[in-house]
Symmetry: D3
Subunit: 191 residues, 6 copies
């Protein structure tokens, strides 16, 4: 897979060529495991320090051990991205929800209106908190955190919910501001 | 300076004790250079991998070489945080604007209503773009990026503007969701 | 295909049983041509006069001759439904866009953020007008209609754009207010 | 009464001339019973199939037997139209509320701010539901429907509330998008 | 006319009894000239110093010499009150527009949606500025003031527009917060 | 202190020169007690009748005896001005809160996000009511007033809360519409 094809954003920021060895290995690993190199990584690869910093935080939040399952973290990603109407993240993380849940309709519900999904009460509370963080974070108060504790989350989980929801409020905005295009492979997968 | 005093957030997530040597050195350096250890670092220090990932991205965006000056990046931080009404970030980065600009009234204007400030046209465009990203990122289109180019920004600058504005849309939400308290020293500085 | 299975809404309004002959023929025709009886028809079929009135207006707006193609009318349907976050209509009419355009990514773009699609200027103006009608119809003035004329629409087309956009502002609300479930067949089609 | 005078909208769509016999009879009946031919009918009369489809749904929703009185359906019409600031519908249906209720101040309250009216609890719940459908239909959930059941509505009534509220979300938008003028006779009636 | 009948607000704040001589004269003058004592005056008359301060500012803004006619000031009052959905002010000042303009339909248009009225360009600009002040005053900048100058207003007129629009943003909120009832006589007048 | 220096607003409305004796005395008194003549007074001083009417209402609301302390009235002023993002009022009344409370961090919290402050329940309810009046006054109903009574306010206090909150909704808009500059002395005081 070529790294230097057309930029995945509207900015003219070509991928470093050749890539440093570690980066090339990371991209090769993506291609092997996912069948593609996510465009968000290629978008950052005009500056390897920025790519590493972004990937470092992403991996820590989405892949490291947590009281939240990987699916739950992807569910937050989709609900936040739906509120922000981020095409890139809805396509990429909508596919992740379909893949991890084995439930393509759940993926669509989270993209379109998560209130239509029949969710466990703790998952619903997790998504409601993520949405409130997205729409009006300044109005969050102790009662909101207590609602999460009341459905079983511990403070470490609340940290993780808050940080995943916040992270997609960052990446949604980078993707929209740069018109980042998702890899077209996602669209047809896990339907 | 003790690392393990009362948590700077409403979550019960105590700082790792003792800190790893590298982290302790980093905190000591902060204390020496800033006269304080920013509470946002102490808030993350319950998990050193998370602290490192967060600090890695922060440093890359706010301190690495860029077409934007450090003051300009802090100006974006304050305008985004004002829209999101994030107490932590307004206090900490409002102080940074006062310090870096030597203009305490500029700091207040950015906190309260940046439209009151007499800014260079490129800085005004930079802040308008950051605000639009904060309020309605999905509506950003090529015309918005062109507006930035028309006042002299190159695509690499646009990437940096977008990523700094997006980053504070993340940290504002983590701070508000966890009721993070800023260090009280900031309030009186550079007035 | 049985007409009287579980209601497609959260209201307990069973389908008339047996259906009048004309209605049964209409449903049989749907099943034959579409492979399903759209749940919106079954939802109305507790009262045949209401079903007929609804279907009468729907068919007149979406299927009768018009300066707008059927695809264009479906594009309006999806963009309006996206703004209103109507799960039923996004699923059903998103599928229609995929089918009529042969472009599954276009369908996803209209569901998620139509500004990401590369559209002909007249189609973009048509969708912008439909969105403005959806969000703040009271602010529409002559200048908005003139924008449509400037890209080639005649007044009869403007009537059709306005009525299709308005119609989905009606059906979106009925579907959301009654938690109407789309037929599950739509999800996987034309991906 | 002449059918072909100045168009009641900003679109140049002349009334069919002569009208088909059935349509002329319908208009004559309106003139006889109401003292006027509602401009919304004349606006549709450039295409008799569209007029018939529109009038068919209108009559089914507003005049057919229902658990809601005609006054209650007009109250919904006014509250929805007030939220959408639709001049045509506020004038026409505001007059209907004054006429059917014999209470001109009630009509004004519903136009201006329905919360000022002293209403029976079920009517207030009906209007609150209609407003929520108008402003944020995607957030309606089972609890909202249950609130209606708790004040005595059955599921068939909920269907009717939802469909009347939705219908005016359609007509408000057509009227505003085409700058439809209400018949001037309404203004002074039932004051 | 009795001063001490039922309070015109939801607060239990009885009118001073007896009224001081000057106040009684003022109320008698209102009764003679207007045929009623405006309820907003009776609402303040539990404390004569507050009544005098309020009436002093009201009279200065609405009745003193100005580049704006009394009708124009009432038009601003209605458009601001429409945005704020203030029942009291819409009823009282809607009647004033009808009376001063001799055009009852103009009064209704300003109450319902001022964009429907055919206004002179300077009056339209005046109302647009008043609406922007009402909805998002912090976004007003020099360009907005220049728009007013471009249609012929001098700086003294701009002051008057701004102060009248601002005044009704005050009184709307007092009336709504206290559920102030307008005198019922207004409803039928000048129809 | 000279009265006729550069105008404190963007409007060319010079201070009357010389000032009438009473006005000069009032300004001298301000200079003596506050160390400055508030720019809002100089802005009105192009027309002494307007200055007197404004100052009359201001003094009655902010300085006359009330169940609310002067600090509490200033707290309302700041929270309303924060919602409206009024630079003038945030600077001037933010300083007043710092001075009257002796708590500079409280002043900053009210400017930035009053929900971060640890307030007595009655003060919190007072500020919540003031914010609701600012954002959506038309939705205030008896339950909102009862919430204030439940934390100990009597109806006279509710009148005062409503009128102070409403007053700053007026002055915020005048200040923003005219780009009124606060006296620079406020910024550094009571930090």
């Amino acid at each position: 897979m070529k790294n230097t094809e057309t930029s995945p954003t509207a900015l003219n920021l070509p991928v470093v060529d050749p890539l440093p060895e570690d980066t090339q290995k990371y991209f090769d690993l993506c291609a092997e495991k996912l069948g593609l190199i996510p465009n968000v990584l290629r978008a950052h690869a005009f500056d390897i320090a920025k790519l590493d910093a972004f990937a470092g935080l992403y991996n820590e939040l989405m892949l490291a051990p947590s009281g939240l399952s990987k699916l739950e973290r992807e569910m937050i990603a989709v609900v936040v991205s739906a509120e922000n109407r981020c095409f890139y993240c809805l396509v990429a993380h909508g596919q992740a929800v379909r893949a991890l849940s084995g439930d393509p309709i759940l993926g669509e519900m989270l993209v379109m209106n998560y209130r239509m999904a029949q969710l466990a009460p703790n998952q619903r509370a997790m998504l409601d908190f993520s949405l409130k963080m997205t729409k009006s974070s300044a109005t969050i108060e102790e009662a909101d955190r207590q609602t999460l504790r009341d459905v079983g989350y511990v403070d470490r989980d609340i940290w993780d919910i808050a940080n995943v929801a916040a992270f997609f409020n960052m990446t949604n905005r980078v993707a929209s501001a740069t018109q980042m295009q998702p890899n077209s492979e996602y669209h047809g997968q896990n339907r």
